[in-house]
Every structure is written in structure tokens, then in C-alpha cells.
Symmetry: C2
Subunit: 452 residues, 2 copies
Amino acid sequence: MSMAMTDNEITLAIIQTLKEGKKQTFQELMDELQPYDMACQYKEIPHKHRNKFLIYLSLEHLTEMMQELDKEEQLDVLGKLGIEKSTQVLDLMENDNLASLLADLDQEQIDDLTSEMNREESKVVQNLIKYPKETAGRIMNNRYVWIPKHYTVREAVDKIKHFAELAEYLNYLYVIDEEKKLAGVVSYKDLILAELHDKIEDIMYSRVVKSDVHTDQEEVAKLISRYDFVSLPIVTADDTLVGVITVDDVIDVVIQEANEDIEKLSASGKAIDFNTKPWVAAYRRLPWLILLLFIGLISGGIISGFEDTLETVVALAYFMPMIAGMTGNTGTQSLAVVVRGLVSDDLDMKRVIKLVLRELWVGLIIGVTCGLLISNIAYFWQGSFTLGIVVGSSLFLTLIIGTLAGTIIPLILYKLNIDPAVASGPLITTINDIFSLLIYFGLASMFISKLM
Amino acid sequence: MSMAMTDNEITLAIIQTLKEGKKQTFQELMDELQPYDMACQYKEIPHKHRNKFLIYLSLEHLTEMMQELDKEEQLDVLGKLGIEKSTQVLDLMENDNLASLLADLDQEQIDDLTSEMNREESKVVQNLIKYPKETAGRIMNNRYVWIPKHYTVREAVDKIKHFAELAEYLNYLYVIDEEKKLAGVVSYKDLILAELHDKIEDIMYSRVVKSDVHTDQEEVAKLISRYDFVSLPIVTADDTLVGVITVDDVIDVVIQEANEDIEKLSASGKAIDFNTKPWVAAYRRLPWLILLLFIGLISGGIISGFEDTLETVVALAYFMPMIAGMTGNTGTQSLAVVVRGLVSDDLDMKRVIKLVLRELWVGLIIGVTCGLLISNIAYFWQGSFTLGIVVGSSLFLTLIIGTLAGTIIPLILYKLNIDPAVASGPLITTINDIFSLLIYFGLASMFISKLM
């Protein structure tokens, strides 16, 4: 295949080979494609050619391509393959990918799919599914090479050669002791630079950075990105090596966690992407919107409580959206800083106090600036000095409260082991709405005689 | 050092060795630490011990630790080291890290720092700085191994052994032709599985996935995470290999881009983390808040235009925050879906149309649901059937408009090559505020006789 072929030209060539039944040309085309591109091509060609595409594809390519499809597409392909070939594919799949395919299926479907599989492989995968979602145990895989610590460099190199096909990355070898406990790690670079007769335990690095199977996947991502590792060993409570998490999975975790933070901060509902069906997307977004509808009604209730004040000075309504909006926004700003800060930094009491004091200062600075600005605007627009004072000092107070609420609430949630992003968005909006309206109309009612 | 030592115990041990002047024990302690941990320890110990810490540290450790510090801390350390040692460290630093240290310094400072450096190394780095921010050229490094395509496997393995210390990851070797153009790639796994006398050009993979030096770093991250690569070769327009981008840098890019999206979506201002000073944080947040203040005043202006309506039926004010809030929120939800969808998916016209139609459906579904709900609530709360109809149909209309605005505006910005997150947050809020108030008070004014 010419290196210069565009994706479209490749699609046409693939359809051509399928039509003409040229299996070998088809496979040569596939040899030059990355798994992701095979999956794109498979989805690009007309439905009527897809069965033949799957039949012509070698088992290895089929397995690689499977791992690039989403769950629904995978189940569809497995159905088309028939029980025998699909079992072969499942046996070959990396077990973390297999686990994420099987998770969420009901037991009957799992049994159907795995009934003919290699028993040991199937047991490993079914064990993976038992770990809670988003933990290290759920995303780890067993495609790594381990060696006993009494090996020499020569023995280690021989073992690598033997398992090269199997290992996902060859950067590190994990070293275990007699009880199968993780004892150290050796990089491939170390092996190359050592002498063949050196003992592994003499050249290994024994202070291994590792994670427990129950660690949150976000913590694993933090470790890998902090130390620039390509993989991280995963151990059980008694230090037995049970798997590794590789950097490519960590990128997916980082993207997924960032998306979750954004979903929660923007209250946009879980896992909506370009392919989500309208009913599903609406169903996922509605709970937040209905919650916000009632939050909006609480504000309405507070306003109705100040009906007399508002009837007397209708101009007060003009500044209402601005004050509520600004307070909500400064709260969201602080919230975003805290939530994203936690992605890369750890927190101790000293830092918490420093952070809260910082935000208090920030609140004061923006409160003074915006308060003075709006006082002048309100005075010149409505010609009332008192109105200027009321609007300006309300904004000053609510900005400070909003900033602090946006900082302190997520920190408390984090301390209570609740994801700070999940509850804080709507929570902070409610609290800030209530405070800002109470302060604004409270101050206005106090000065009502001068406002008339 | 005992593997079981806690971070605090290590800190105490370090201070002890520094006090007692035991350089060798100190270096043994350091041998067992990861660069990130060295940096943490350096920042943890009292200031008075830091100079000695730097003096005792070997040049290699010093260089590794430097790369884990932030810019201010790096400049501080370089100052403490003095011109000779700091030049040695700069020579040893990976050139992408060095480039990010030098970027944003003024030319005089750059000249000061690089004056004594290895001329070639310094030139390479100064060239890197010339690439625009957030492009592949700016974050690539030269720590990779390349081989001519006429090499045999044996020659390739010899070259790797020679350059093992230099290469960041040994997963791939990049193959170049006579004109130094990128011709292929060989994985280390391929080398292990091949025969020593095989020719590289026979076993190499020639359809190389690569990026141009001017590609946006976000696109590079998309490629690496899509194909699960450990590194990606970077070429100039004529296909000359000039660097690689490694997966650990990509994780940083993914986190940085996610933070930027969140900053923009929550209008929280650029690059504020736990260590930002209050004045700086306030200064970065204020522009958005002041913008939102004026946006709030536009809403106020619209309300004041309907002063008569509002004076006649004060109850209209009760539903104002809810309608504006809901419209803003559905817009932000759609915006978040589009902005995050673009992180992993590409868009063509077909998908755009599908997406807009999907969001139209979503808008209709949530519009009908929330509209009916609020109609009933308004009717039972205020006892006015007409008010219920006005509030309900306003919400229905504004939710549809809000949803579509939140989808279409970022798509247009994306088409115009403007980052959709940057302008859309405040833009969508403004548009949605204006529409929602105009529709709400417009409808209310039409039915004013029945509302009284």
C-alpha cells in the first residue's frame, strides 16, 4: 500500500478487495493499519460488506480492532462472528479490555460469552469485574513480565525474549521474591547497561512505587503522571503482585475524570457524548435541570417574601440578576480552582488554611472592586445615592461569601470523602442565591425610607 | 534505607546527614528516591539546609530534581548553584524542559543562563522556544534513537546499547532514509523477535503515524491517546525527523487542556492553582467578573424596559431568576458536551447536522417536561392560570433556544478555528439572558390584561 494513500482511498481499496474476494490483498492492506484505523474503516464501509470484512480479518487483527470499538459495537461484532471465533477473540483480548466489555452485562450474558473460553483466562476476568468501578483492580491488566529476584541478567533477558509478544510495554520488569511478593523493579535500560552475569537483586531498584488494588483510579493517574512512569505495579494488601496499569489506560482515566469534573461542574449529566441518543441525553440532563428549577423557586420564594419592598422600589429588580449571577459565578470560579487543584496536588491542614485565607483575600479584592464599580453605575443610572450604596455593599458582601462558600464547601466534601465536584455545583448555587437575595433585599428593606 | 521509611522519617534522616556532613549517606538516601520525591524533600527541609542539599546532590540527581520544580523554584536553584554548576545542569536537562524554563524569560536572562552552555545544545533549545506556544515543536524533545534504514538488526541493537542512557523510552526506534527523512518505525519488541541479520527496512513499519512541528499540542495528545503510543515522531514540512513527543508529556497536556476547558467554561481565569498569590488570582478572575457584571446590567436594562409590566404584576419577578438560570444552565450543559466531545472526536458536516438535530430533540424534551412542571407550580402557587401559561411557555421556548445556542455557537467558533470554550461561556450566558428575559416579559406584556 502506498504510504500516501488517504483514508478515503483506503476505504475504496478495502471495498474493492472485499467485492473481488481478494483475501490476501485485504490482509496486506490491514497489516499497514493501526487498530484504531481498522475500526474506523470497519465503521466506514457499507453494512453489506462488514461480514466479509470480519471473515477476512486475521484473528490477531480482529482482536486488536475489537479493543477500539465501543461496547455496543463489540457485542454486535461478537454476534456476527459466531460462538467459535468469538471465543478465540475473547481469549486473546487484554483482560482489562475484556473486563470493561463484560462489566454491566447481566450474569446470563457473561456466562454465554465466556462459556467456551479458556477457563483460567475467564476466571481472571470474572475476578477483575468484582473490583469496584474506577479502582486500580478494575483497570489493571496482566500483560507484564515478572522475574524472581535470584535471576541473573542473562536469565531475565531470555525470559523477556520469550514473553515479548505478551508484554504490553517492555520498559520495566517486576521482580518478586520467594513468596511472590513484589520485591523490586528493573528497567530495560538497566538490563542493557548491566553485565549478563549480574544478579537481578543487585541491580534492581527496591523502593518500588506501587498501588493497592482498591486505590481510586484517579490516585493511580496522579502517581503515574507525577513520576512519569510507563506502568505502575498493582499489589494486594499483602504486597502480592497482581497486575499493572499502563500509561495508555491512564490517559483515558485522565480524560474520563476531567470529563466527569466538567459534567459535574456544569451540571450537564453523566456521560453524554456525540453519539448519545436524544432520549438518553435528555433523561440524563433532566434531573439537574429539575433540581435547578426548584432552586430557582427558592429564590422566587425569597423575592416574594420582600414583595412590599419590591413593589415600593421596582428598580431593585434591575440589579437582581446581576447580584445573583456574580455571586454564583465567583463561587463557581473558586470551586473550579479547588476541584482541579486536587487533580495534581495533595492537601494537608496547612495548605487548606493557606488556601482559605487566599480566597478570603481574593473575595475582598474582587468585592471592593466590583462593589465600587456597581455603586457608581447604579447611582448614575438611577440617580439615587442610597440605591448605589445598597447595591454596592450588597455585591461586596455577597462576593466575599460566594468566594468563601465556593472554597470551603468542596474542601469539606473532600474531607468527608465525597467527590467535591458532585454536590458542590448545585449546592453552591443554592447557597449563594439564598445569601445574595437575603442580603440584597435585607439591606434594601433597611434603607427603604431613603430609597422611595 | 529501609523501604518502610515514611516521608517524614526520610526528611529527618536527610536533615541529620546534612547537619553531620555525611555526604555519602545523603547520596545513598537520594539513590532510592524518585526525582519528584527529591523535589518534595528539598521543599520540605528548612531553608538554612537547602544550600548544602544542593551541594551534596550529584549532578544527575540535581538535573532530575530540577525538572520536577516549577519555574520560580528552578530559577532560585540555578541562582544558588552559581554559573559553573548551573551551566552543567542546563546542559544535562532534557531540552523540552529547558525550553519551558526559558520561555517567557526576557532575552537578557536567556543569554545570561545559556552563555556558558554547550553551544549546540543551547542552539537547539533556543530554536524550540521559537515555535508558538502549545504546538508540537514547543513540547518535543530530542531524547530518541534513530537509525538509517540500511542497518541490520544487530547494528540497531548495538546503537541502542550505546544510546540507552540518552533515550527517554526504548519502545521505538525511528528509521530515516538517506535524506534524513522519516522512513519507518521499529518497536523494540520487533527487534527482539527478529533475527540479528535481518535488515531494518524489511522489518520496519512504514506507515508511520506522525505530527508536524506546528500541530496543536491537543491534536498530538489526541493521536497518542487514540493509538496508545508511548511516543510520537515530530517532523517538519519536508518530513525530516526533528523530535519526539513522549506519553508522559501528553498526560501533562491532557491535564492542562482539561484545566483550560474548565477555566473557560467556569470563567475562572487563567492558570490559578493552590500556590497562586491572592493579588494574582484576583487579577486573573476580575476581567470575567467585570464582564459578567455588565452582562448582568444588560439584563437589568431589559427588565427596566418592562417596568410597567413588572409594576403591574410584581409576581413576575419571582420566576425571573428561575427562567434565566435554567436557560443559562441548559446552554452550559450543551456547551460542555460539545467542548469535551471535541477532545476525542473529529467532526465532519454529517456529524454536525446529527448533533444539532439531537440537541433540538433534547431541547424539545426538556422544554416540554420543565414547561409543564413550572406551569402547574406557578398556577398552584400564585392561583393564576394565565401566569402558569406565561411562565410555562416562556420556559419551554427559552429552554429550546438555550440548548441550541449552547450547541451551535461553539460549533461555529470551532469552524472559525477559535477555541469554542473561550468565548462561548460568557457569550452563551449573555445571549440566553437576553432571549429569556425578552421572551418572558414579552409574553407577560401580551397577556398583561389577564394577569392583573
